[in-house]
Subunit: 410 residues, 2 copies
């Protein structure tokens, strides 16, 4: 007997928000059944439900118990899967809902941001013998001893990829309200082009830049277990973008996409005495207080004094300035200055790994248009440049054009 | 070591509807912890939540899958227990929520009206070793193979009594928005008196008459496992009414309470040929179509013809008249007449078991006030009389007075 072909399809909160939209989702599942023997449909809570539930927790308690927040929030997906299964059964499809704890999707006990440890894949296969479609709650799991957990925001993507990994050699389709992954944000660059394929590593860099298409942990999971992920729209028939392993066609391109992030604030400590351990004195307290530092630059020392500049998320600015003021007093720094009118743009591509000169081309292109480069950070497949926020759109378009992303590469 | 004293407390939908009310519930649980070592708090869904969820199912499907309705509806209590546990933990109480499937409360697979088969009492006791208060979802359970079920309307009372039975020799407090069980409805009889004690059998008869205080299945459960049940108010400190086994003080009273039910419609088949099997010909089709027949009277035959009269719930009238018209045609009955302006009143009391003449006293009292008696039915501890609906309030007051229920019996 040929192996059973299983397709995992994940539908986000906007796709299941209303009856009309759920009917579109039903069409996608029916289409999936035409292409595979069985479908596992992973659903998020209806758009707004999770926020409403957590707002309720905020009314009930100033510091709501995290474990009980998960019991509360997990009702959102439970409502989605029950309603959607009713629709499928009305259409004569052999379907049932499955709560994560019924499979089970076992996680650690970090309530609110749990990580998946294992999935009851044998039980899942037994269910697939009896039903054609299993409708599974995304975003949630349970501990070894059966307590309800949630995976944190965007966790439904991770649920879907993990289920696909557990079932083995299965494609995972992530349905959303966009066609796929674009070379850059089409809202600010009309030449943006939908990619047919993108490498896991590129997708990871884009996700970390705030591209909302896929949750970063789901991409890590997909890469680790080599699950092919297809990002596509619930509302049309476009084949979308396949997120997969690198291949030679991807490496032929120097740059695959341009990302940007406005959520940046820059902080500089001027004239810090340049003694051993000064960087630890600055960044240790920030790390302890949970502030995530992004880019860091330390200038060469002049007269035993140096400048230390770093960027953070804007929501952490107030907190960071308080901590940094103490650090400045202790280390004898002259002053602390900050700037919130900054943003970063990145060029990402597995192709740049084997080519030098990509950074130079980016700098030259921006400088030629009069855009001042404030900070630079590079990794193996990414160049990130901090600029003034007012230049973001312009910089994205320049880089998109410079690396020829509007060409359609066959 | 002395046995651990455990108290089960159940709080209904109106008691948990808002944050303010849940704070009252917290006071009751704290009070419970003062009287026992451990508390098991059983919660309903917040008032309106279950109706809203089932309305959603009605929008999604004309004939919603029953199993999925239970998955949907069970989120209501899940929200209640999560929110209430947050409140308890804020107050420093060692508490956690428990979903019925986490205990488990095992039921049969009659989705929407499941019956409890067993309760994981060892697991429950293990949880009680680690927590002072367990906050349990009422109204729900799960099948042997882990599917979510609900017990039907009022099922939270049954959940509470079943948990108390499983834990053994435990009192079960049912908190509601009334002080306890009254000798009759205080809204129509100002002399109505709260009872300190009432026998299970009396409570069963009252519940079957539509007294809303306790769900009938919970009383059956309490009687079967001899669980003392105390009905009391969330909003004051009255000790309420203890529902318990009969004792001699109860038997000293001829009648304990007067109940009434306006939801009655009377149907009569005139001049039915009185041949063997005619009753079956009338009531068989009604039973097959799910119509519950309440009182039945068949007159003595005259000239081989008889009248058959019975009562049903008003919502079943249209359906019943359709069925009865067919039956009349088949059996050769002369005509079918009906009357919706009827109601029944009952006198209930374990004391009447050993005394004759109770029925006669009731009939005499009603007749003296000009109330016509339409039908009569008697059981070991209940006399039920069908009258015209306009006399309901008067009849209740007359019977309440006739049997001396406004006297305070020490």
């Amino acid at each position: 007997m040929a192996a059973m072909k299983i397709l995992v399809q994940k539908f986000g909160g906007t796709s299941v928000a209303t009856l009309e939209r759920m009917q579109k989702v039903r069409e996608k599942v029916e289409d999936g059944l035409g292409r595979a023997d069985k479908v596992v449909a992973v659903l998020s809570a209806r758009a707004g439900d999770t926020d409403n539930l957590l707002a309720l927790a905020g009314q009930w308690s100033k510091n709501p118990d995290r474990a009980e927040c998960d019991v509360l929030a997990s009702t959102g997906e439970q409502v989605s899967v029950a309603l959607f299964t009713m629709l499928l059964k009305d259409g004569g499809i052999k379907a049932r809902s499955l709560l994560a704890c019924q499979i089970p999707v076992v996680t650690d006990d970090s309530f609110g941001r749990a990580r998946i440890r294992s999935i009851g894949s044998e039980a899942l296969r037994a269910f697939l013998d009896r039903y054609d479609v299993l409708v599974v709650t995304g975003f949630q799991g349970c501990t070894e001893d059966g307590r309800v957990t949630t995976l944190g925001r965007g966790g439904s993507d991770t649920s879907a990829v993990a289920l696909a990994a557990a079932l083995g050699s299965v494609e995972c389709e992530i349905y959303t309200d966009v066609d796929g992954v674009y070379t850059t944000d089409p809202n600010i660059c009309s030449a943006a082009r939908k990619m047919d394929r993108v490498a896991y590593s590129e997708m990871l860099e884009m996700a970390s830049m705030g591209a909302k298409v896929l949750h970063i942990r789901s991409v890590e999971f997909a890469q680790k277990y080599n699950v092919p992920v297809r990002v596509r729209s619930t509302f049309n028939d476009d084949p979308g973008t396949l997120v997969t392993q690198e291949d030679s066609s991807m490496e032929a391109l120097l740059v695959s996409g341009i990302a940007y992030d406005r959520d940046q604030a820059r902080v500089t400590l001027h004239d810090v005495p340049d003694v051993p351990g000064v960087a630890a004195a600055v960044f240790g307290p920030l790390s302890e207080k949970g502030v995530l530092v992004d880019m860091i630059v330390q200038n060469t020392s002049l007269d035993g004094l140096t400048d230390i500049t770093f960027t953070i998320s804007r929501k952490d600015l107030k907190h960071t300035l308080e901590i940094t003021a103490e650090v400045a007093a202790k280390t004898g720094a002259a002053e602390v200055v900050h700037d919130v009118n900054v943003a970063k743009v990145s060029a990402i591509g597995v192709g740049m790994r084997n080519h030098s000169g990509v950074a130079a081309r980016a700098f030259a292109a921006l400088t030629q248009e009069g855009i001042n480069i404030l900070m630079i950070s590079t990794s193996e497949i990414k160049i990130t440049i901090l600029i003034q926020e007012k230049y973001v759109e312009l910089a994205v378009r320049i880089l998109h054009d410079t690396f020829g992303l509007d060409w359609d590469v066959a």
